[in-house]
Subunit: 370 residues, 2 copies
């Protein structure tokens, strides 16, 4: 296939694959798409290890890194990452800790310890994401993506100095224009059906709006609800130069998704997701479970602002996973989870997506033939 | 264009246009698509008048009628339409009347009278929709569509005896299969971004699921988020034989939309809709206004089940429109309201949609050319 993004990156198919798992990233790039590693969960040292591994295993094919650099978050004025962590930790209300502990207890999971609460800040802030960017730019990455709002202008400049293309996720035409204003090269227009942080407008409605808003000089990828060839074709029809996928890689053979979560994903229907603030404090689409239900119940103390919500719950999530308490699984995933019913290798998913895309083009062609 | 639905109905373009306005219905059919009149708001006598008018003005082109025949609603066991009306009327709680009256008062609209409450049952029930079907089948309609769940099997048979194709709206693969089971010929798979009664799954995700669920013998139309050529192409790419549109016809020259409402629709963005039960008791996407906000506020008594919610509010809606209290406008519309910014004649909308569809096909073709 040949679109502006396949030409720009020298890839075979305009398929971008977001994943937190290095094996998936490398496998997608080797299969002709472009893997993009979500850096969020890694310390700078860990990220260095992951990228070194990808450098060795991507077969010389291009790949990308995705960071989270929200413009607004609690604690941004508290100083460096260490000061921010302890400052924010002390701001987590006792009632919220109790609410989480009660929930864990009801499901037979060991409660939080004093030290456990607020231990993990992760890459949810500018202060913690910048060191990740520094690490990433030391590697031969082809793409730096910003997952929550426009990246700081100096980060865009630094990436460009390294010859790295910058992508930014947007869930409205207004957000897309803001990204272009700071120098972002590729807009990932993401509809509400997507997994993770997402807006309210569907991909069908959002894409033409974004394409028209950013104008012909900015490349656009379609995201949200895309996991197979017909959806890829629809995304391209809506005006995109390529597609950005995520959920579909959670159940591939190469993915490191915990088994209990994977089984829940394979069994879920497209009606089993919900947009909830119970993961990070910002609305994110995730699997509807006892966890998301509890945060929406009358007993809920309400979620905390980013990054405090994740600080509050991260230790609990680890305990839940270790305990195998699948009913409390907290997993960002999009509505296409309904068609993720079979574990396949990455190469097979890419092959089938391209095959169905080509069949779709042939089917469409017949509609307008004389 | 040539697809299974253009062949079946002998129409030029696979574009179906739902509208409550006879002028729009006739104009769409004359322009090469197929207009479908929403019968909901008409008594059998009124419907007779509307259809006679369309017979004269559609230029001999095929058109359809859309009725609402929900399988479940309050009062279904109360007897005939008259008994149901008075029975349901007495079941509307005093607190709900007070809530509506307080809202009207705050916005300077005259309150409900005792007689006004519950005066309108409309076509929201099996008992009131059946006479509409009888009237419709006396006219040379090409399509009978059921907007809320599968129509009764005997209605499907009666339509087939008249040589009329039956369509049914579905917002999940399971609902689509139920429609096929009662003999429905064409499934309108409608995503959450659509105006009016709608489910939670987006068009991008829903369409392939429905197409695969009903199998190759059932025709499928894509609905939800479709108002222009790129969206039409995306819908067809997702596996549809044609597209079903609605919102986009609210702001055409021919539409009888009240001016205050039309101006609100023209000004709204794609973020200005909300799925709310405040219109009919079932979730419907509509313009977000002071009305929808009030029903979601802590003071809200909660909405009533169908058809009681509409009985409660219908008189209020008429007063609001007469008073020109635009801030309380209650209008079912989809997310594409964001691109409905200009009043155009029907023929122009169809022409532009087809033109953009063809441009899109040419653009897509270049991606896979050798």
């Amino acid at each position: 296939m040949r679109t502006r993004v396949t030409e720009l990156f020298g890839i075979e198919y305009p398929i971008f694959a977001f994943s937190h798992c290095r094996d998936v990233v490398a496998a997608v790039s080797r299969a002709g798409g472009m893997g993009v590693l979500g850096a969020l969960y890694f310390t700078p040292d860990e990220l260095e290890t992951e990228l070194a591994w990808i450098d060795e295993h991507a077969g010389g094919r291009p790949y990308g890194v995705d960071v989270v650099m929200p413009a607004k978050y609690e604690g941004a004025d508290l100083g460096d990452a260490g000061e921010m962590l302890s400052g924010l930790q002390s701001m987590i209300p006792e009632g919220h800790r109790r609410f989480v502990n009660d929930m864990l207890e009801r499901h037979g999971v060991a409660p939080l310890t004093e030290e456990g609460v607020g231990r993990y800040l992760l890459g949810w802030t500018d202060a913690t994401a910048r060191p990740q960017v520094e690490v990433a730019l030391k590697h031969p990455i082809a793409l730096l993506a910003s997952a929550l709002g426009p990246p700081p202008a100096d980060v865009v400049e630094e990436a460009h100095r390294h010859g790295v293309t910058v992508a930014g996720l947007a869930s409205s035409a207004r957000h897309a224009r803001k990204q272009v204003d700071v120098g972002v090269d590729v807009i990932v227009a993401q509809g509400t059906e997507a997994g993770g942080h997402t807006g309210e407008i569907s991909t069908m409605v959002l894409l033409p709006e974004v394409v028209d808003a950013v104008g012909p000089d900015t490349m656009v990828l379609a995201a949200g609800g895309i996991g197979r060839g017909r959806q890829m074709a629809a995304g391209m029809a809506l005006g995109a130069d390529g597609v950005w996928t995520g959920s579909v890689w959670l159940t591939v053979e190469e993915a490191d998704t915990p088994e209990a979560s994977r089984d829940r994903l394979l069994a879920a229907t497209s009606r089993d997701t919900v947009r909830s603030r119970s993961w990070t404090g910002k609305p994110a689409r995730m699997l509807r479970t006892a966890w998301t239900d509890a945060w929406e119940s009358p007993e809920s103390p309400g979620t905390l602002p980013m990054p405090m919500q994740f600080m509050l719950i991260s230790d609990a999530l680890q305990r839940i996973n270790r305990a195998g308490a699948g009913e409390l699984t907290t997993f960002p995933v999009g509505q296409i989870v309904g068609t993720m019913n079979q574990v396949k290798p990455v190469s097979r998913v890419i092959y089938e997506m391209v095959e169905e895309y080509i069949e779709t083009m042939e089917r469409l062609r017949a509609f307008t033939e004389d």
